[in-house]
Symmetry: C2
Subunit: 396 residues, 2 copies
Amino acid sequence: MRWEEKLASRTARMEASAVREILKVATSPGVISLAGGLPAAESFPLEIMEELMGAVLGRYGARALQYDASEGFFPLREALVPLLAGRGIETSAEEILVVSGSQSALDGMGKILISPGDAIAVEAPTYLGALQAFNPYEPRYVQIETDDDGLIPEALDAALAQTSVKFVYLVPTFQNPTGRTIPLGRRKQIAEIIQRHDVLLFEDDPYSDLRYAGEPVPPIKTLAPENVVYSGTLSKTFAPGLRLGFCVAPEALMHWLVIARQGVDLHTNTLGQALASEYLSGGHLARQLPKILDLYRPRREAILEALANSFPEDFRWTRPEGGMFIWAEGPAGLDTEKLYRRALERNVAFVPGKFFYVDHRDGLATMRMNFTAADPATIAHAIELLGQAIAEELHG
Amino acid sequence: MRWEEKLASRTARMEASAVREILKVATSPGVISLAGGLPAAESFPLEIMEELMGAVLGRYGARALQYDASEGFFPLREALVPLLAGRGIETSAEEILVVSGSQSALDGMGKILISPGDAIAVEAPTYLGALQAFNPYEPRYVQIETDDDGLIPEALDAALAQTSVKFVYLVPTFQNPTGRTIPLGRRKQIAEIIQRHDVLLFEDDPYSDLRYAGEPVPPIKTLAPENVVYSGTLSKTFAPGLRLGFCVAPEALMHWLVIARQGVDLHTNTLGQALASEYLSGGHLARQLPKILDLYRPRREAILEALANSFPEDFRWTRPEGGMFIWAEGPAGLDTEKLYRRALERNVAFVPGKFFYVDHRDGLATMRMNFTAADPATIAHAIELLGQAIAEELHG
C-alpha cells in the first residue's frame, strides 16, 4: 500500500522544510554553525540538576511522576506569577497555562482558531516554527512590512482594515530571525490598533530575558491585556530539553487551549515542571540568568566586531541588544542560498533569510546568524570566513 | 471582544467531555475513585530516580537538557528495540519514533491522515482519549461491534466492505475501557482483513506489560507489519508524568508523523527520554515490572472477588488477565449515569460506560471501574458500597 495516498488534505501544507536539511548539514563535524538556534550547552545549570531532583522528590514525591492537570503543575504556575510580574504582566497562577514548549502554544492557537482559508497576519520575515505550527490548519498569511524597528504599525493598520484576520502573530522582542525589538512607541500604536480592530495578538516572547544591553521594553500584553495571548518559555533560561513554555490568554480562549492540549499530549511532563518550579522558586534562575548573560554578552560583541571587520560595505545588519540572532542583508542581486553553499565549502553555516518569509521569493539577499552557540573566537573566525565567501560570491 | 466567536469550525468538535467533570469530582477528598486511569503512585521507581539522574548527567551531560531530534533521543530509541523484540516486534532504532505520551501519536495520526468527513473505524466501546485526539480533525466514526473477545472480525470485514476508512483504531490487549483482549485467532483474522482491504490499523498497546495471569498474545503488528502503526508507552511501567510513548510505523507514514511532531512540540522532552533510556538499558524496568505486577495482582483479585460478592446476579462483568479496568453491564433499563450520582452520595466514583461510545445513546447500562489506583481492602469496600447503590437504584 502507498500510504502517502491516504494522507489528509492538510498534510500537503506540511512538507519538510529546506531549513531542516540546512540545519542537518550544519551539524556535520568540522562545520562552524551559525545556523541553529541552540542555547549554549554551557548556559545550562548542570551542576544543580541533582540537587533540584532531590528537592523535587523530597517535596512532591510520587506526584512529580504522576499524571497531572492539563493546565499545568500548580506549583510551577504559582512560581511563574512573579516571573511574569517582573515583565509587567500581573496575573494569577489560575490564569497561566503551562505548555510543552512555546511551540505547543502555537499549535494550540492554530488548532482552536484557524479554519482552512482564514487569514493570519505575520511579520515579514517571521519565525519559521510558527508557520510550521499554523500550516497544518491551512491558513493564508498576510505579510506585514517591517523596518529596523520591527513591525510598521501603519502597515498593520492598513492590512487589518483590508482583511479580517483570526489573529496577528508577533515576536516583538529580539525577534527570530532579525533580532529586532519593537520600541515602546510602536507597541502603544500596535496596542491601539488591535483594540480598535478588535483583533487578537499572539505575542511570542522567548528572548526578552536575554538582554545584554539597554533597557527592557514592556510586553504588548501590558498595553492591551484583553487582546493579547502572551507566550514565554524556559528554554533559553533553564533548559530547552525540558520542553517548558507557558502562556497567559483571555479566559474564553484559555478554556479551549486547555481542551486542545488534552487531545495532543494530556499535559506537559510533570517531572520537568516540578524541576522548573524548584528552579524558579528556589532562586536558581535569579542566580543563573546573570551567568547566561555574561556568557552571551561577549559573543554578541564578537559577532558585531567581526561583522564590522569582515563584511563588505554594501551589507547592512541588525545590532540587537539581546536575544540570539543577527540579521544581515546584502546588495540587491545577492542570492544567500548560493552564498550558503559557498560558505559550507569553507565549513561555515548560516540560514538564508528567504525561508523566514511566507513567500520564499522575498528576502533573497538576507541571512540569519546565531551568536549564542559558539565562543567569541570561533564566531569571529566564522564571520571572517563568511566575509571571504561573500567577497568571492559578489566579485567572483 | 467575545473571542469564542473567532473559534475555528473544528473547535465545536472539542467540547469539554462530561468525563472530565466526572474525574474532577472523583478526586474530591473522601471519595474512593474507581473512575480514573491512574497507575498507583507505589508503582513508580521513586527510590532510583536520583541514581538515574546521576547516571544521565554522567553519561550525557548537557545533551540531556538540550534540544534534540524530533524522532526521539537516540539512546532511548536503541533501548526500545529489545523491549519491542520482547513483544515479537523486530525493528531498529531508526524505525522507532518517540512521542510525548501515546496521546501524541494519536494526535499525529489524526493530523496527517484525517480530512474532515473521513471515516475512522473504532471499537464500540473505545478509548475516549483517542476520540479526543481525532475529533479536532473532524472525522466521522464507524463503530465496530464487540463481544467478550473484543472486536468481532466479521463485523470489521463487513464495515470495511461498505465504507472506505482512513484507518482502524484498536486497543487489542486489556482494552480501555473493557479490559478485553482479542485472542490470537481473531488477531489473525483481523490481520488478514486489513491486508485484504488494504487498510491501515493503529494498534494502541499501553497495557500488554501489565499481565497478571495467562500467556501473552502477539501484537497484530507482528501479523501484518506493513499495515499497522504500533504504539506503546512507558506511562504504566515507568512513570506517566514523564509523558513518554513510542510508535513504529510504515516508513512512508513515519516521515509525516515526524513533521507533524515538529510543528506540535519540536520533540519529546530530552531529560525524560534520557532517564527512560537509563531505566531500560540499565535493567531497571526488568526489576521494577515484577514489583508492579505483584502490586496490581491482588488488586485485580480483590475487585473480582468483591464483584462476585456484591454485584447482583443480573450484572455481567469482564475478568481481564491484565491491564487496569473492569467493564460491567447491568440489566436493560439501568442508567449508570444516574447510578453514578447515587454512588457518589456513598463516596464512590466510576465512569458511566456510555461516554466510551461514539454515540452516547449506547452502553447506557455499562460502567468502567479501575482496579490499580487503590489497595485491595479499599477496592473491596468500594465495590460493596457500589453494590448497595446498585440495589437501591434497581429496587428503589
